[in-house]
Subunit: 158 residues, 2 copies
DNA sequence: AAGGAAATTGAAATTCATTTTCAATTAGAC
DNA sequence: GTCTAATTGAAAATGAATTTCAATTTCCTT
């Protein structure tokens, strides 16, 4: 099992690469590269967490007062379309985004007390999911798995 | 693996039992038994699917024009609290409810074309989930697992 | 480099499910 | 039956997500 206790913030190399990918995506689709999109993408990739549009907007507002919420929202959608971000909705019903690297599928452990989100990957589970789908004649395209409970810290000082 | 291709509608025995359980829950909590709650619970248990408040309301409106949406909504919340119903949100972001029997935990296969929802249970996956949680020092309370893809029908006549 | 068509921006308005409010009604304890 | 607290349902409020639209910017064409 691949462990990543806390979503890792990308080194600047990865970020540059990803911004390049975004540019390609935009050009390909006939969209335009703008100062705003560039700044929003940078900030998003640097945060490297499961952020909401709102959170990202607040962060960006600190540095750039002229970038609106709507543009942050739309840029996150764009990042999602381009495959650079994944859109996720957990039990609190807010839409969160996380940077996505090529082959890194993972699921989440969510603490019901402190709200921390921990990522994990388990190939054994993935295989079984595939098998279940097969048994129903179902072609699985994607899945969503979240374990809710209490993290090490929160279960201890309860 | 337990298979239930389509959520089964309860026999009337089960429904009576559940309505009894609801009554007990209400009394216990100092809430009142009302004609509306009774009718809404009956209709809900008979439908036995993953209904939204809206759908249930529309169904009930056909028979009883004096029951309001708000009451249906609140009764579903109540059923959820009492453990008789489970609240679920899938990718379409609507809150759905399904009758819940004591020990019947299950997950869902959701067709991205026709929207059909199929239930399944797989103990091997459950065990692995427990193990993953353990490895993170996490105490799992509940989980959510959904496989999205195309059902037998939809993948065939594509 | 200038022109111009098309995309983008951001504030404000809209949507839509969900949740709350409140006055009138009802359940059920005494 | 009386009384008090809970319930009801229409309407209003909420709040995140999405759309609108006029002003601005990008970038393709010349």
């Amino acid at each position: 099992m691949k462990i990543s206790g806390r979503p890792t913030t990308e080194g600047s190399r990865g970020i540059k690469q990803k911004k390049e990918k975004l540019k390609n995506f935009l050009k390909e689709k006939g969209f335009k590269s703008t100062r705003q999109r560039d700044l929003i993408a940078s900030e998003f990739l640097e945060m490297g967490e499961h952020v909401t549009a709102e959170e990202l907007y607040r962060e960006i507002s600190k540095k750039y007062t002229d970038i609106g919420y709507t543009t942050v929202y739309r840029t996150l959608k764009l990042l999602n379309q381009s495959g650079l971000a994944a859109e996720r909705v957990f039990a609190d019903n807010l839409t969160r985004y996380e940077p996505l690297s090529a082959e890194d599928h993972h699921d989440h452990l969510i603490c019901m007390k402190c709200g921390s989100i921990t990522e994990f990957q388990d190939l054994r589970i993935e295989r079984l999911q595939e098998r279940v789908a097969d048994e129903f004649g179902f072609v699985a395209v994607s899945h969503k798995m979240e374990l809710y409970g209490y993290c090490r810290k929160c279960k201890d000082n309860a």
